[in-house]
Amino acid sequence: MHLYPITAYHYLVLAAALFALGATGVMLRRNIIILFMSIELMLNAVNLNLVAFSRLNGHVVGQVFALFIVAVAAAEAVVGLGILLAFYRNKETLNIDEVNLLRG
């Protein structure tokens, strides 16, 4: 693995690092909004991978796939934030550890 010239592998490593960052955020933070944002980071890493592969193969199918991921991310964010607002109205907090209404 050389630093130069830039190949598709470099983009894959970048995406892997971004994915790991998002995973770290999900595991470390307690604020639900920041958890959501970490998930967005991970989705972005996946998109980066798909675009890098699309470039590697010289075909745009990867980009079409990435478009669908963007649509799914939008749906996820909308519903997730709706749930979050409903939760906040009940518990007046955003701490993920306090989402335990179903605990026996």
Binding site: Y11, L21, R30, M37, R55, L67, V72, D97
Partner: protein, 170 residues
């Protein structure tokens, strides 16, 4: 050479903003860094020859989804921050270990594949000429038409769900 400079600069920006997103104290600061991160990723898409996706990234992610996050952050005016409350069952060290294990594993796979003698690094092929908007659109409305329709139904369902959640439960 130019692509190397662009790549390392952008990679530093993306990872730097990513670190800021997950470490920022205030959620609003996190949102701002998330926007900057998405913009940097969009520039990477341009470098990779995916102009259409880059524009969609800015329009939908940076201009739409993250605005929603910002609205929610401003709506939930927090009296006590979530981080103030400490949960004794929480294992922060384990979280860091798991995340770094993921990073190490994925990087090891990539480095191994790249350094294996059989798979010499494939240089990135030249970008698709003539603009990819047309090609992406063509694929969307022919080969992936059903997936496209399903995605639109998903968005409709999400819209209805969000309105239902956001209404006060009377």
């Amino acid at each position: 050479m130019l692509e190397a400079i662009a790549f390392y600069g952008l990679a530093a920006l993306i990872l730097g903003f990513g670190v800021m997103v997950i470490t920022a104290r205030s959620a609003v600061h996190s949102v701002v860094f998330l926007v900057l991160n998405f913009l940097a990723v969009a520039v990477v898409y341009v470098v990779l020859g995916a102009e259409f996706l880059a524009v969609i990234q800015v329009l939908v992610y940076a201009g739409g989804i993250v605005v929603l996050y910002l609205f929610v952050v401003m709506l939930v005016n927090q009296k006590r921050t979530p981080e103030a409350h400490h949960d004794p069952h929480r294992k922060t060290g384990l979280g860091i270990m798991l995340a770094s294990a993921v990073l190490a594993e994925v990087t090891a796979i990539v480095v191994y594949t790249a350094s294996a003698p059989s798979a010499s690094p494939i240089p990135v092929s030249s970008p698709v000429v003539g603009g990819n908007t047309e090609q992406v659109g063509w694929l969307l409305y022919t080969d992936y038409l059903i997936a496209f329709e399903v995605a639109s139904m998903l968005l409709l369902a999400a819209m209805v769900g969000a309105i239902l959640f956001a209404r006060r439960m009377d």
